[in-house]
Amino acid sequence: MASKAQSMPRSLRIASAAFVIIWLIVAAFPFIWTFWGSFKVEIDFFSIADWTNALTGERTTETYGSAFTGAGYNGAWVEEGFMSNVINTFIVCFFVVCTSLTIGTLGGYALSRSSHNYTFWLLITALIFRAMPPITLVAGYMLPFFEWNLWGILPTTIIVLVAINQPFTLWMLHSFFKNIPQELDESAKVDGCTQFQAFRRVIIPVMWPGVITTGLFSFLLAYNDFAVSSMLLSESNRTMMPQVAAFLGTTYTEGNIMFAVAAVVSSTVPLFILVMIFQRQIVSGLTAGAVKG
């Protein structure tokens, strides 16, 4: 704010502060509202009579003797066994992140250090693959997976998600490795290292910031995937997102919509924590793609 050009009249300053506050409400209010409402009974959360019931929990008090109830959570976690879906999600996320980072680092490093023509074509192919909606590939998986009895299990889904994730991982790591000076591994090679030794002893120690950022986005992709995992997992192996969708299918009729609300709130908690801890990395990852790409 040192520059004269950036100083603003008071009115404009107030207007933009007001706008920021409105945006914050638009961005955050739906989550706060749903979180609050998840501790209510259905006729409070969806109140026909009076919308303030959702705040005060009048019917909840009538039913449970207190304005807050864990009934929705009890239904989702205990009765419907949401725990197993949560465990499945974390298994999938863990292996997707580890595998895609391992093979992605090798590939991204190679792309950044090779000056041959084919690296351009590989990157363009990756860009095209990145642009394709993953669901268009699912029809191609079905028949082979059924034939070879691979359908419905977690490892298959993990490998598919790793592959779908690769184009993005490659682009991201490629641009991170481009930023690491080539002289580092060149000099290691002059000292007698092979390319792989140079990678292991010189590049690996300095690559972690980029790898962590890329890993975050791999995690988000695996965690948030609905289309592919709901098609490729059998009912007993479902991850969180397909399970939430399944709650909608079964519970709209049973009137237990609060199970779904509780499950939705539960599934956002890990993301809140993630954004809280890794905000800086997520922002830098988003912008890295823009500046380089």
């Binding site: 004269k4 642009a131 390319q195 289309a227 997102m241």
Partner: protein, 341 residues
């Protein structure tokens, strides 16, 4: 780097992409040319005291056997693309010949599932993308003026709609705009119409899906533009001010051109992501009013009878659509590459 070293480094990721992206594309294209075998029918002549009757039944064993032997089905060429569920060639020609005005023709077209899905997908893409860029820019400009201490918390809350899964995000919004939810109630009150419901109206459903799309993607545009604003050259701004540019003119002639490359990037990402819109339709239970190409694929695959061929044909059409959207970028990248070489 030597070719062989490159090969070994790239092998695992290359293999993963060939096996699970390239091969499935081939598989999808092949699948779209085949259709399941028809049931094998057998005619049995039942002769009783009142004469003989011909009875046709399905030979379950023979049907299962032929379906097992050739799981792809029988080859039908482009027939699936042309059927009523996809391009609907005969229906479109018929509609073209029998209707006398363009409006009536488009009305007929809107009843065909593929064109309905296409219409919504395109409207969504070309409304949401510019709106996201505009709102992202405004938010970035506004946030840029608040004090540095608040920026962290603003960015934290702004990121939430973007990192949350579209299914979850749309559900959270949908529960609020439900006619019994808080926003639904508010809208009814404002319109003074207690029977107003988003679920009942196609137009309102489209609007709420579009609003969801903007809400979901604005943070992405905002973060990128905000990063771009940090590199804004102050001397240019000052020069513009000395030349008498108003604040709006400075935004129009200095800031926007500076952010132009980032806008192209956001537009590109948004085109790709909005074209695949799918989860919000599930979250909003909007199937009756709005369908997209991705939803059509999902619906074909999810049913009791998995309609692989129909899904595959829609997939191929979707891939072609993505390719068309992406072609300007590819051409530009190719020119850049040629220029460098």
């Amino acid at each position: 780097m030597r070719h062989s070293t490159f090969f070994w480094f790239f092998l695992p990721t290359g293999l993963a992409m060939i096996l699970f992206i390239a091969m499935p594309i081939v598989s999808v294209v092949t699948q779209s040319l085949f259709t399941p075998h028809e049931a094998v029918l057998i005619s049995v002549e039942n002769c009783g005291p009142f004469g003989c009757t011909q009875e046709t039944t399905i030979d379950q064993d023979a049907t299962a056997a032929i379906r097992d032997a050739e799981p792809l089905g029988r080859f039908v060429g482009l027939q699936i693309y042309a059927d009523r569920g996809h391009i609907a060639v005969s229906e479109v020609t018929e509609a073209w010949q029998t209707t006398d005005s363009l409006g009536a023709f488009f009305n007929r077209l809107a009843n065909l599932p593929f064109y309905r899905a296409m219409a919504f997908t395109l409207v969504f893409v070309f409304v949401v993308t510019p709106m996201v860029i505009a709102s992202g820019l405004v938010i970035a400009l506004a946030v840029n003026t608040v004090t540095a201490r608040l920026k962290g918390i603003v960015i934290f809350f702004s990121l939430l709609p973007f990192v949350i899964n579209p299914l979850i995000g749309s559900l959270v919004l949908f529960w609020m705009i439900d006619s019994r939810g808080i926003l639904g109630n508010a809208i009814q009150w404002m319109a003074a119409d207690p029977t107003l419901s988003l679920k009942a109206s196609t137009g309102l459903m489209w609007i709420s899906l579009i609003i969801y799309g903007i809400w979901h993607a604005s943070p992405f545009a905002f973060v990128i533009f905000y990063a771009g604003l940090q590199t804004l050259p102050t001397d240019q701004l000052e020069a513009a001010q000395i030349d008498g540019a108003t604040r709006l003119q400075r935004v129009r002639y200095v800031i926007v051109p500076h952010l132009m490359p980032l806008m192209t990037f956001v537009a590109l990402m948004q085109l790709m992501d909005n074209f695949r819109i799918f989860e919000p339709i599930i979250g909003f239970s909007a199937e009756a009013h709005a369908r997209s190409l991705s939803w059509a694929i999902f619906n074909d695959l999810a049913g009791e009878t998995r309609q692989l061929s129909s899904a595959a044909a829609t997939s191929v059409i979707t891939i072609i659509g993505v390719a068309i959207l992406l072609s300007p970028v590819l051409v530009r990248t190719w020119r850049d590459f040629k220029g460098k070489a």
